[in-house]
Symmetry: C2
């Protein structure tokens, strides 16, 4: 029997991994913390548990009782804008090492970690697993990369298969409203001017439910090591913003070039997804236009009766 | 006032850092665990504390009470032969991250970590800080390197100066008797044949009290980043064994070439020590012949009345 424990299971990405895992025949156990409690809308077929991974051995009894064969580890400190350099990254590395150890000691067979495109050296533009050098610059990227390096070796020693999904850019319901795509959508829905950078940045943008499903596929696979979790489709920020402009029928409000791009913002940051497609056996299912249309309709329905951008 | 907390302070290297730190004007606090208790012969001017760094927050009250400005972190899992791939490395990374965090939160200014030559890519033979790539192959080397990468960035963010002494080969009183140099000394003192590998391996071998003193110098300095802790003198294993043969007056017992060298044993593994000499302001004081002579005399005095290598 395949039994999986998913940490961060009610977070932005984690919640989208649960139904695909159930569909793949896993006995799915979702770990939530007090901070991100069990949601009202539980996923059918999933057993929910509450424990704080940052609290020493809080997860140990759960690992001992469940003896999960698989572990999908999403939980991390993700406060918008702050997580890149937050000291909390250290505590999450420590907690992840303890989690891995407890998993391994209780018969765990396959561990899937949530990595990041920020582990890579971005100068090449196109990131290829096991070929593009790692060269993280943020504490978040350094911490995830360091954790991966330790767990890959510890897993090899302990007979635990370790794989690692490197998340690129993503969007979708549940994300922080200050992130790029929801901020543009909300601004345009509210018919207010939306300042933007030049918009020529080339990115790979994946819908969060495809991200969740990709991790379910990785958990269900056998290949070790890093996988880019991305669509393989290149889009500029201006194209995305233009699609939203068109879908919200809000011409003339988008102000490209009125914000300066962040220092070090790479012109191209995209994923080679051959490994995910071939060895990971995963193809994304949600085209950007469809994902944006559905997202816009949700955010539109959720708007307050007298919308104002500054309210 | 400079107040330093030394972890692993009663261990093989740590104990040799204490007197040099006192001599440099530090208020020295030594942290010991139950496993390596406070020794009978305490170093004058040092205050001893007991706490287990692996036990969650055990060290926090000590950090809060002492508010050390400096921290010298030697404590790690070091069981002879086993530490290279031991799963305990994970717990020590986690404990070290918690320790750093507690130190930083309590006003810590300078953190000195104990790294290893096993962080480097060994193919070049001569290891130079910030030039030779890192490419650790053991779980120990990977763990130390990963910890360093995280702490260097976390330190830069938090305003804590982080430096890192990469230890090469060392010897001296207190080391595990199964290690190369004491095993040769004991064998030759006992007039038993001593099997050896070919002995052509070029190494840099430092006396443990110089290692301890070098770390005291690093703690007392201001430069950040990695420092090789080594002598800069190249010696072959055969030369070391020959010196012991001569000092113990035991000709004909050394059997070079009767053991096969370990797989992957590098022909040359030595340190460039320019950084330690210039920026670290440290020069080793114990010549190999003198260190060996004193060591032999100690081990000779400690011999049982009816010596036997196999006893």
């Amino acid at each position: 029997m395949k039994r999986i424990l998913v940490t961060g299971a009610t977070g932005f990405i984690g919640r989208h991994s649960l139904a695909p895992l159930v569909a793949r025949g896993f006995d799915v156990h979702a770990l939530c913390s007090q901070n991100v409690p069990v949601p009202a809308g539980r996923v059918s077929g999933v057993t929910y548990h509450v424990a704080d991974l940052l609290e020493g051995d809080a997860v140990k009894p759960i690992l001992k009782e469940l003896q999960p064969t698989h572990l999908l580890h999403f939980a991390w400190y993700v406060a918008h804008g702050k997580f890149w350099e937050a000291t909390e990254n250290l505590a999450w590395v420590a907690a992840s090492l303890r989690l891995f150890q407890g998993f391994s000691e209780n018969g765990g067979q396959r561990f899937v970690g949530a990595g990041t495109c920020a582990e890579y050296d971005w100068t090449g533009g196109v990131m290829i697993e096991n070929q593009t050098p790692t060269r993280p610059h943020t504490l978040y990227g350094i911490s995830k990369n360091a954790l991966r390096e330790i767990l890959e070796k510890a897993g090899a020693n302990a007979g635990v298969s370790v794989t690692w999904g490197r998340i690129f850019h993503l969007y979708g319901p549940g994300e922080n409203p200050r992130r790029l795509i929801p901020a543009i959508i909300t601004g345009l829905l509210n018919k207010t001017p939306v300042p933007c950078t030049h918009g020529r940045q080339v990115r790979d943008v994946m819908h969060v439910s495809d991200v969740g499903a990709a991790f379910a596929a990785l958990a269900d696979g056998t290949a070790d090591g890093p996988f880019n979790v991305a669509t393989g489709t290149r889009t500029t920020i201006a194209e995305i913003a233009g699609m939203i402009e068109s879908l919200t029928a809000s011409p003339g409000l988008l102000q490209l070039g009125t914000l300066s791009a962040p220092v070090g913002d790479p012109p191209v940051l995209v994923a080679d997804t051959n490994r995910l497609r071939r060895e990971g056996a995963f193809l994304p299912t949600i085209a950007l236009a469809d994902g944006l249309r559905e997202y816009i309709s949700r955010l539109g329905a959720a708007r307050p009766p007298t919308p104002s951008f500054n309210q």
